[in-house]
Symmetry: C2
Subunit: 357 residues, 2 copies
């Protein structure tokens, strides 16, 4: 057989498979495929479709191996304290850069941080946004929570109340959402709930969605709109992108520490309970939701699955996917001047402007 004939047959097979006819595997190949699709080892360069600032961030990125979970409550508490402290320092930089200020208050027995931006925009003069911080349910408490709270306050020119909810290992579900709900019920004594947004990233996106489900079930007023940024929406199963994108995201992987935090947070509750895994919930009646993620985000699948079930339930839900970004990159405060950051603020402002009363 001549080279060109071999080439033609090979090309034909590949392109038929590629374009519209299903590929029927041989038996042995099908057996292999049943275990999954092989991805070869590779080194991927910095994405081309992003800003120089974001390229520099990704160029400096070193992705560690997945770390094991801590083994004792003491170990978890020690790691928690170290991370909270490190991220509280980052929050101080964010405050200094943005000119935002904050006060520490107590609402319904829960510590909150009230963040005031250097300039409150007239559109947001009569409201406040409620922030539920991320950090795998276990981390980023205390002043570390200010990172994203300041990011939103500064970016949109809005006052933010950030809830310092109780966390594992000492306080599993439902302590965190109990605290968010307690603060919410106080906030809506002072503000029209239809004017108030709730938002969070990662575990904070999960807690925001879980709070909505619980408020709705209790017949309580809901926020007018929410942001669920790259939310963990399935604590029961491992969504696809945890596996396909591993190596690209500083979050590491699902096994080990992350799996450990999910288990700690769930405690004795079934991980498939919609209050833990909102992707399995009845989403009827939820408010307009904006979801953000990136093409290198280990929670890309969790996010797009949530987007689909929200839309399927008739909820207004918009999705924005940033090329090359990993988990939570859009709130990278040190990129305050990056086009991607300004783009996210523009989208959030437009979305909340449209949907909040």
């Amino acid at each position: 057989m001549k080279h060109s004939s071999v080439l033609k047959i090979a090309l034909t097979t590949a392109l038929i498979a590629a374009i519209s006819v299903p590929a029927f595997a041989t038996q042995s190949a099908a057996d292999l495929a049943a275990e999954g699709l092989p991805m070869a080892a590779r080194t991927v360069p910095v994405p081309i479709g992003i800003s120089p600032q974001m390229q520099a961030l990704i160029e400096s990125r070193v992705v560690s191996e997945t770390m094991p979970a801590a083994e004792t409550v003491e170990e978890w508490l020690a790691v928690q304290a170290q991370l909270d402290a490190a991220n509280a320092q980052a929050a101080e930089m964010m405050l200094a850069k943005s000119g935002a200020t904050y006060s520490t208050e107590e609402i319904a027995g829960v510590t909150i941080y009230r963040v005031t931006p250097a300039e409150v925009k007239p559109r947001w003069a009569d409201t406040v946004f409620v922030h539920v911080h991320g950090g795998a349910f276990v981390f980023n408490g205390g002043k570390a929570a200010l990172n994203e709270a300041v990011w939103m306050a500064h970016g949109l020119g809005v006052e933010v109340i950030s809830v310092d909810y109780r966390r594992p290992p000492l306080h599993p579900f439902p302590a965190a959402t109990d605290d968010v709900i307690a603060v919410w019920n106080n906030v809506i004594q002072q503000y029209d709930p239809a004017k108030v947004a709730m938002f969070g990233t990662s575990a904070g996106g999960n807690l925001t969605l879980s709070t909505l489900l619980q408020l709705r079930d209790a017949g309580l007023p809901l926020p007018g709109a929410i942001m669920a940024g790259t939310p963990a929406t399935d604590l029961a199963e491992v969504s696809d992108s945890w596996l396909t994108l591993k190596g690209l995201d500083p979050l590491g992987g699902h096994d080990g520490a992350i799996e450990g935090t999910f288990a700690l947070y769930a405690g004795d509750t079934d991980a498939a309970d919609p209050r833990l895994s909102p992707v399995y919930g009845d989403l009827d009646g939820l408010p307009p939701s904006i979801l953000l993620t990136g093409t290198r985000d280990l929670l890309l699948s969790d996010t797009v699955r949530m987007h689909r079930v929200l839309r399927d339930a008739g909820v207004t839900a918009d999705l924005h996917v940033y090329d090359g970004q990993s988990h939570g990159d859009y709130i990278a405060g040190y990129l305050i001047d990056a086009p991607e950051t300004k783009d996210a603020w523009r989208e959030l402002n437009a979305f909340f402007d449209l949907h909040l009363n």
Copy 2:
């Protein structure tokens, strides 16, 4: 150092990197990182967040190595003929399954297929959708184009005109969009352009966007809304997901045959010309656009980059990303009863209902 201390430090390092503080690499690690991020070899199981029908499709999937480009015009024509024939057979199945019918006509010297669904929905009784087929610019001509045309006609209950445009290797750019524009100018003699949608997948998404840019620049009426399904939007550079997702998508890869088709299509025109790479275009004034892709789609990055620049230009643009889907899986006609297919039809119908006059 005790095990628990090592663990704590390792966990702390990983989680600090993960959650909000940038990781600063050592010099040698930074040098490595500058070349890119390493992804280890792996086998990924069938995604959990999809329907049994879509799981079965992916389970049977075998992804071939990237194939070399054909080397001569004769070879390209031979492959083209083989693929056109194979996909024309698939189109026959699609017609039989859906009960749609078609006629072959000539408009402005261009062959078109007019597809009539078994039932035209009242909402679409006074319009027609114009289809620009995909197939890497080179393939899926003739009756192969009917696959997606029937998919849309059947799913929405709308008459579709599919343009059998001229293709490489004999006819590089701008022959294809010249043909689409010629047909368009005829269609709008009979229909209100604001009521007409244009749509296409892959190369068809590219050609749809390119057509819009050329119509706008010529001061001609634009369609009322468009669908750009997993569009190839950057023929000049290799977007990130071509590399990160390689191995998961039957499309194969960018190098070899695909790169060859892009070069054939571009001919003597600079690949960065916005009429070839619409992601670099001035998008001002484009009509509402709906974009679809999947988390295992090699053109995920091309699609989300296009979504962002459309939004940045003030164009109404909605993005839907299907978990676990590879390139063009949503138009897999043999999955006519899959929930994902019905979901895509529901979104398209709602989008066009909202935006077409």
